[in-house]
Amino acid sequence: MKQTIGFKLNGKKVTVAINGDESLLTVLREYLDNTGTKYSCGLGQCGACTVILNNKTAQSCMTYVDQFENADIITIEGLANNNELHPIQEAFIAHDALQCGFCTPGMIMNSYGLLLKNPNPSREEIISEMDVNLCRCGSYNNIVDAIETASEKMFKKL
């Protein structure tokens, strides 16, 4: 039996019919066509599916209805304000902090979650917080540089 549930996705209220045992990743990608969030391991071991749930990072492949119903969810699609990129996205471009781009949405969302709770992190804090996100192309050093740049820009505005 399908049940209809609701949550806020990138600032807009959405309702969706679900079976009740799907992951948030499936709901986002398959039912709501938000394919920016990626599947890679399905076990919370790589961070490719990271989203923001009630202002905290969550790995959407391991997040279920009791957590996401009525929650406020932000995905990579919701980060830019109209056509204006978020400073983290700008910094990822400026530092070329990506190669194949498949881990990038998860990387950016985890950075976003980090800067929400700690707007001015040290390099060590960035590395420690980001360590759950895997990048096989090896863009780690550029990603850390990008997060530092984004943090500087955002912190100055605060």
Partner: protein, 712 residues
């Protein structure tokens, strides 16, 4: 090109382009100025591109570009973008020669209907072979535009020049015609007729400048499409029922529990058993409910016994290189050093798993597949269904990493079979667990080396037996007058699929050679840098090593517990020297990379920024195979199934990495995607020895192996 053929080429050095007949692609072209180019005409580019006179391999690169009626330029190539940055660097080369800005160029890549044939994106071939072709085509297009402008302006061609999308009368800022005006209403198709004037480095405006990836915007916004992001009307998701042990044969299927899943449909085709459903998670759960009785092959070796198994089982060898006389080499050596080296199986572990989305319509098949070989996939699918190749259309899509693992397209064949049987559009995305079983792993290898040095510290003897790793990059660049390199291999020796893994074989053989060179230097009490400089024969390699040593500060004092390690190698035309610094915790055996310098002679560097990103990426990935990555198995039972038991390099394990390039702007560009990674294993192993005296001859260099090798 078929995967097995690629494997054959990939594990050896490919030094010339791959040739094929040109395909019929012209009829569908719109208007504009079109320049087509095939490598069979490459003799026109002698002196610039790679020599083509070598073996008669079936290699080719066909490309064409079209200056459209609006002045924008389409570039069509069968290559794909998987993070290696050619979507940017090829556009750069084209823009340079055609005198347009890079954002005027649209790259159309890997679409079998729109793009001319290409053998696949592997072997660091793109920049070596595709780049010169695209430049030549762009230079030709520029000349055509100037000819048309000459008629329109009534000026001889020698008075005209192309600048930034327009043809100008030299010395005049106002007498000009834009490309869009010149191409309007025209359809001019040309292939190269004479050697085009290609720019020299001093005239470059775009090549050699760092350009940010042109696909970055799509990738940071989540808009970049990968094959699992395609959703078709009426599409179903497929989930394949897999055996636990690789190579198992199906005996019986019990699908009685499938009734519990409303809308689930069973698909059977030989050993392929799958479930489809309009929801992926239901398909996956329904597939788990199916019970299959399998007959598993017997285990012949496991993670630990595989090396002896190779040595006992493989008796056939071929001589790859030989010189001088081994007996006198031995007799005239002051010191003989002999050792075995081992390397385990590694996964590609791209963050994107293998995926294909496809549909049949009127007996024609359309596919979006995460593949490094769109035309190979097209052929494989056409062969599978005995249909004409032109009825299979593989579409352009981004890849979430490849590293050689997406040369093989089992997922596309499976998806298409399921689509054919079900009559529905199908998406099949492998799970991480399937990825760890059906990925074609980098083969484990055994390497046996005997070296001899005379009393002047000169290498006199080099005997190198390579089991399973291939000969790519093993041509001796040390001066060892008495030498023999043999390659031992046997079909179906591995308990599961193996294949090309970023610079195939060369990571393993370079680890062994460079470890052994180090051990030989230490055996006669020489510094490994001095010993290498003493025994290298190639001036370019010497210069590259010196650049690495100077950049690293090799003579600077080391902290307690730290060590420096050097490794040299050659891959895809590029010379590599890596020097690493590690810290070894002597109580736990843990190795912490501190600093890595990578110097490369890669000829002309098209996009210095892109080349740095590729090099740094290769080094970062390389730390994984050197220190952490190993597939655990017993026969076809693959025990490594998740990222949880297949650790690789993470943020916290990445040291500071510095990349430097020899200044060769007038030389031909060489490979960039693979070379750097080959030296990481050797440079780490040698640094570990320098730090704590442990000579670890087996990768990965785990804490346990370091402790076991530690001198008492």
């Amino acid at each position: 090109m078929e995967a097995e053929k690629i494997n054959q080429l990939y594990f050896s050095d490919v030094n010339q382009p791959i040739k094929y007949d040109r395909r019929k692609f012209l009829k569908q072209l719109g208007k504009g100025i079109i320049v087509i180019f095939s490598l069979s005409e490459l003799s026109l580019l002698q002196g610039w591109s790679q020599p083509t006179n070598a073996r008669n391999e079936e290699i080719d690169f066909n490309a064409y570009l079209r200056v459209k009626e609006d002045g924008r330029v389409d570039c069509y190539t069968g290559k794909i973008e998987m993070g290696q940055g050619i979507i940017t660097s090829l556009a750069q080369a084209l823009a340079e020669e055609l005198e347009v800005s890079i954002d005027q160029v649209d790259m159309v890549m890997g679409d079998t209907k729109l793009c001319p044939y290409d053998a696949g994106t592997w072997g660091s071939l793109t920049t070596r072979f595709a780049d010169p072709v695209i430049r030549a085509a762009a230079a030709e297009a520029r000349e055509i535009l100037i000819e048309i402008a000459s008629e329109k302006l009534g000026e001889p061609v020698e008075n005209l020049e192309a600048v930034n999308g327009s043809v100008y009368v030299k010395g005049s800022a106002s007498r000009k015609i834009d490309y869009a005006v010149l191409t309007k209403g025209k359809k001019i198709v040309r292939s190269l007729t004479k050697k085009p004037e290609i720019k020299k480095a001093k005239d470059f405006k775009i090549v050699g400048k760092s350009v940010i990836s042109t696909d970055a915007m799509a990738k940071v916004t989540g808009r970049a499409k990968y094959s699992a992001d395609i959703k078709l009307p009426g599409m179903v998701y497929a989930s394949v029922v897999r055996p636990v042990i690789f190579g198992s044969k199906k005996i019986a299927v019990d699908a009685s529990a499938l009734n519990n899943f409303n809308g689930a449909q069973l698909i059977e085709d030989g050993d392929l058993v799958a479930v489809i459903h309009s929801e992926s998670e239901v398909a996956a759960k329904a597939a788990q409910s199916i019970k299959i009785t399998w007959e598993a092959p017997e285990s012949k070796a496991n993670t630990e016994t595989i090396f002896n198994y190779f040595e006992d089982t493989i008796t056939q060898s071929t001589v790859f290189e030989e010189g001088g006389d081994l007996v006198s080499g031995k007799q005239n050596s002051e010191k003989i050093v002999q050792a075995d080296y081992h390397d385990g199986y590694k996964a590609h572990a791209a963050i994107e798993t293998h995926c294909a989305t496809c549909y049949f319509e009127n007996d024609k098949l359309t596919v979006w597949a995460s593949t490094q070989t769109p035309f190979g996939t097209q052929k494989e699918l056409a062969d599978t269904f005995k249909m004409p190749q032109e009825d299979v259309h593989v579409k352009q899509i981004f890849l979430g990493g490849g590293f050689g693992g997406k040369i093989y397209n089992l997922q596309a064949v499976e998806a298409a079979k399921i689509a054919k049987i079900s009559g529905k559009p199908v998406q099949l995305a492998w799970t991480r667990r399937e990825e760890f079983m059906y990925d074609r792993f980098r083969p484990a290898a055994l390497l046996k080396i005997r070296s001899g040095v005379d009393n002047h510290g000169k290498l006199n003897l080099w005997e190198f037996d390579i089991y399973c790793a291939g000969t790519r990059g093993t041509k001796l660049f040390y001066n060892a007058p008495n030498n023999l390199t043999r390659f031992f291999n046997k079909n179906d020796i591995h308990p599961f699929g193996t294949g090309a893994w970023r610079a195939p074989g060369n990571n393993t053989t370079t680890f062994a050679r460079e470890s052994h060179i180090d051990a030989t230097a230490h055996a006669i009490g020489q510094d490994p840098l001095e010993f290498r400089l003493n025994n290298l024969k190639d001036e370019n390699m010497i210069a590259t090593l010196k650049l690495a040593a100077d950049t690293f500060g090799y003579t600077s004092p080391k902290k307690e517990g730290h060590g420096y390690g050097i490794a040299l190698g050659e891959d895809a035309g590029t010379l590599v020297a890596i020097i690493s610094e590690v810290r070894v915790d002597k109580s736990t055996g843990e190795v912490h990379p501190v600093k890595i310098v990578c110097a490369q002679d890669m000829g002309q560097v098209v996009n210095p920024h892109g080349a740095t990103v590729q090099t740094e990426g290769g080094v970062t990935m390389g730390l994984g195979y050197a220190l952490y990555e190993e597939i655990e198995f017993d026969g076809g039972l693959v025990k490594t199934r998740t990222f949880g038991n297949y650790p690789f390099t993470t943020f916290s394990k990445t040291p500071k990495i510095t990349c430097v390039f020899m200044d060769k702007m007038n030389a031909a560009p060489q490979g960039g995607g693979e070379p750097a990674i080959i030296c990481v294993g050797g440079a780490i192993a040698n640094a570990v020895f320098d730090a704590c005296g442990a000579r670890v001859n087996r990768m990965p260099i785990t804490p346990k192996r370091v402790l076991a090798a530690m001198p008492l």
